[in-house]
Symmetry: C2
Subunit: 159 residues, 2 copies
DNA sequence: CACTTAAGTTCCATTTTAGGACTCACTAAA
DNA sequence: TTTAGTGAGTCCTAAAATGGAACTTAAGTG
């Protein structure tokens, strides 16, 4: 199976990873969320080759996760900003960060801490139910076949 | 920068990705959460080469995200089960899935839907604040230098 | 004019990956 | 008692992805 094929899988995790699941893309997005917008800054902060960075940024623009916004003419220069679609990857980054904090931080503790201005507390983030608001326990969540998978199975069967 | 070097970065996202941020690992874990435990089953469901799978499973065992549990002797066979550390990757998978549902599902809708037995509703998952319980708005979260980053800067400066 | 900056490109050597064939230890079927 | 099958790998080679350094373009600076 080639990497590009996983985009076809009837699985939202696979489809998301087909865009964001390579070596560097999530690190680029981490920097985007921290305010980085320009090519050289990404390159220095992340330390990947310029070649790769060009590639990844173009892919993110193609999939409308970042967009190029000109910030000067003569010479024409532009910066990369998160779109709505990009901003919605925030939970992915934050859950990764939390797991890293919990399991990979080492003796010095987490590198970054988070402060919630809405309630004035240092905090961490949990998953909660959109309906009842309670914190999620994985055992209380049951995955069921949804319309996308049903349609897929039918289309496979009819071949 | 080599891939292995990102583990040294003072960033929890980078450290988490150094383990789960390659082409296949999160797909393996997705299957683990869906109940898959055996080599061949992973291989068939994901469609990666056996060679890669061996590699990835060993890495996950090494980092104590999965553990090998024997289920028969003669010949000795074992299955791969999530550890506590592994189970705590649940939010990462679910936030990826939600993003995929929202942005990559296509006209047929999401392949999987989720049902919360605690409240008896079909639901999706949000990030909420550990302190006040409110749903998180990224703009209301301020990252601050934590102890891990402070220790790191000091150790760099003293060189 | 020589130097610098931002944002890429080009080239080449090295790494990683995909996919198929092969192995090993055992069990079940003919 | 050969034959086939299964689970879990290992080995090999060609193809793809990557890292690093040097080069390019279009300005602006001293």
């Amino acid at each position: 199976m080639k990497w590009d094929d996983i985009q076809e899988m009837p699985c939202s995790v696979a489809r998301a990873l087909s865009i964001v699941g390579d070596r560097w893309t999530l690190l680029i997005l981490r920097d985007s969320f921290m305010g980085t917008k320009r090519f050289d800054k990404f390159q220095k902060q992340i330390g990947l080759s310029r070649h790769r960075l060009t590639d990844r940024l173009n892919k993110l623009v193609k999939y409308e996760i970042l967009r190029k916004v000109p910030y000067q003419e003569k010479p024409r220069r532009h910066e990369y900003r998160l779109t709505r679609k990009g901003v919605e990857l925030y939970p992915v980054l934050m859950t990764l960060a939390k797991w890293g904090d919990n399991w990979m931080a080492g003796e010095n503790g987490p590198p970054i801490e988070y402060f919630h201005t809405a309630c004035n507390h240092q905090m961490s983030m949990n998953l909660s139910c959109s309906e009842c608001g309670e914190v999620i326990n994985p055992k209380e969540v049951i995955p069921k076949v949804g319309p996308g998978l049903k349609a897929y199975s039918e289309s496979v069967r009819s071949k």
